[in-house]
Assembly symmetry: C2
């Protein structure tokens, strides 16, 4: 009995198409003998499409994307400072619009220091943690505005909106994940300054903790958390945090564990109401686009997250193992597709 | 002709009193033969005072503090989780109230990797930069609130307030500082998400840049900035950024350059309308308080910033040089006062 999974593929801009090509190759290779068939539909979205048509993400695009079971995305964003993109905000209009509309309330970002991966720390220890970043609230909601723009009397406000509903669901997810891992959960916020939202995060974590007596809970202010990420990253198991703090911490975590070229992520709607979306944490890097210089590993590890999400844990682990084996043996420089091929060779070995 | 400087001293909680004692000793030692006399007034403020009297910072306290030319502060904050402090927010009610009321719009935080200082990076390079953190706006304004607190329908908002007035003055300060240093200024924000406040920061930086053709300007999103702080911290000279991003980046910067035990800061009102305040970046660390375990170096380097602010650059440099010489020769553990004494010995050598 064969299962069909409909997959929306959004290669995007810059290095996006190159890394997604490798991710697709790996997906094909790992499922070739399985009873799952992926029916892929490619969407041409991003700065390129905007420059051609003026559209960022239409209702028709959204409907067509929603008809799929899951999404893989490369990266979106044009050349910084491109005057033709001055009035476009591809990040808000495309990437964040997808995360918000598809209710991706869990932004899942694992960080692992793979054997052989070069990192900036002299004594990193054994690093293996997951940041559960809230994906649909906080300072990302876009509830801001400005008056007297461009004058000496301009005032610009940005409102972070936080709800018990939104926090509780992501906190529950994080506790369950911690329960399946090393039973440690760290809330990161800035409760001493952002007393209202921070107070609510802390209260809800305390409440849900009652149902998870096995999970050890602690709390760090976001500033202190950045210190520990460089001085003692192995102290972390699961971090649960708000949308903006999660954005910041996961780039730092990526850097600490061998670079953003290895950092994968899942934008997950655990309820299954909408398709979840898997993407490398890195951006579109237009400066090296089209040159086969990008490392496709983060995109390929995002395939592992996708497979796990689709209930294909064995395939997921095979991809991760192949990547691990490849990282351990890396030396010299390779093209994007050479790295993809090397990982596929490990898969088939 | 002798000059009298009135100095408010706020030792605060935890390790605050211990490190401030050493800072005062260094201040006395470096000015003993100069024609400046410091008239010090001690203020007993912090969690300890709150627990005794219920007061955090009264109008009388404020008036008495304002009667001084400058302030040194150790650290404030009681034991985390102390139920008696549940309804107090010493950080907001004391530290932030001082910064806001005394219009400390420049929160100056230098980061330097001193020879011999141990750090977490394997190849840090030559690190010497200053974060100019805005101190009176942004998400720190306390314009938040919540409804239906404690229920499943709670909503908590936090509003970041940003003004052209507030941004322009700190941006000007940062450009002038960059002009006196290595002529490089990096704006850090999150303009792709916080489009209104970020847009204003970027516009004002672009405008003020016109008056400083000597200064090379670039921009980084806050998430990317954390990556560079661990992979290439020597790329920075002056960073100018918002209150919250500055909070996060400077703890990370402290960690990268040998630890928060070395990180000094000035909360500066450049107009001189109110006294400026100098403090170590670290907190009160109640767990090691009273044990002579704290490193007073950050408090002592804050004295160097104070002296510079007071127009005593030679004394400031002497303190910095003494600290540098001490750091280069450190080994084994010392008590708080032994470190202070060692630095004073270098001063007098
Ligand atoms: C591109 C940007 C809007 C995005 C974010 O801030 O979430 C990115 O930094 C990320 O982490 O996925
Ligand atoms: C104690 C806290 C309110 C303060 C801040 O967030 O500014 C501290 O972290 C700092 O950096 O001085």
């Amino acid at each position: 009995m064969s299962r069909v999974v409909k997959l929306a593929v959004i290669p995007g801009d810059g290095i996006g198409p190159e890394v997604v090509t490798e991710a697709e190759k790996v997906l094909d290779a790992v499922t070739i003998h399985s009873d799952v068939t992926f029916e892929k539909k490619h969407f041409s979205l991003g700065a390129g499409r905007y420059l051609e048509t003026g559209d960022t993400l239409t209702d028709d695009d959204l409907a067509a994307i929603c008809a799929n079971d899951a999404i893989i995305l490369g990266a979106v964003g044009g050349t910084p400072g491109d005057p033709r993109l001055k009035d476009a905000n591809i990040e808000r209009g495309l990437l964040l619009k997808l995360r918000f509309t598809l209710d991706h309330y869990v932004n899942l970002r694992p960080s692992k220091l793979y054997a052989g991966a070069p990192g900036p720390l002299s004594a990193p220890g054994d690093v293996d943690f997951v940041v559960v970043r809230e994906g649909t609230e906080g300072p990302y909601v876009g509830n801001g505005g400005a008056i007297r723009v461009g004058t000496p009397h301009e005032v610009a406000n940005e409102t972070s909106v936080n709800t018990a509903y939104g926090i509780e669901r992501v906190v529950r997810y994080a506790f369950e994940l911690a329960g399946r891992r090393r039973q440690k959960l760290t809330l990161v916020h800035k409760t001493n300054v952002l007393v209202h939202s921070g107070g609510m995060w802390q209260r809800i974590v305390n409440e849900v903790a009652q149902e998870h007596p096995d999970v050890v809970v602690d709390y760090l202010h976001v500033d202190a958390a950045t210190i520990f990420l460089v001085t003692n990253p192995s102290r972390f198991d699961v971090i649960v945090t708000d949308n903006l703090f999660g954005d910041i911490l996961t780039d730092l975590a990526g850097a600490v564990t061998g670079g953003i070229g290895l950092a994968a992520s899942g934008n997950i709607n655990p309820d299954g109401t909408f398709p979840s979306m898997f993407e490398p944490v890195h951006g579109s890097a237009p400066d090296i686009a089209g040159q086969q210089k990008a490392d496709p590993t983060a995109a390929i590890l995002s395939i592992a997250l996708l497979l796990d999400h689709l209930g294909l844990p064995e395939e997921s682990i095979r991809v991760t193992r192949a990547v691990e084996a490849d990282i351990a043996a890396r030396d010299g420089s390779r093209t994007t597709s050479q790295t993809g091929d090397a990982i596929i060779a490990r898969l088939q070995a």
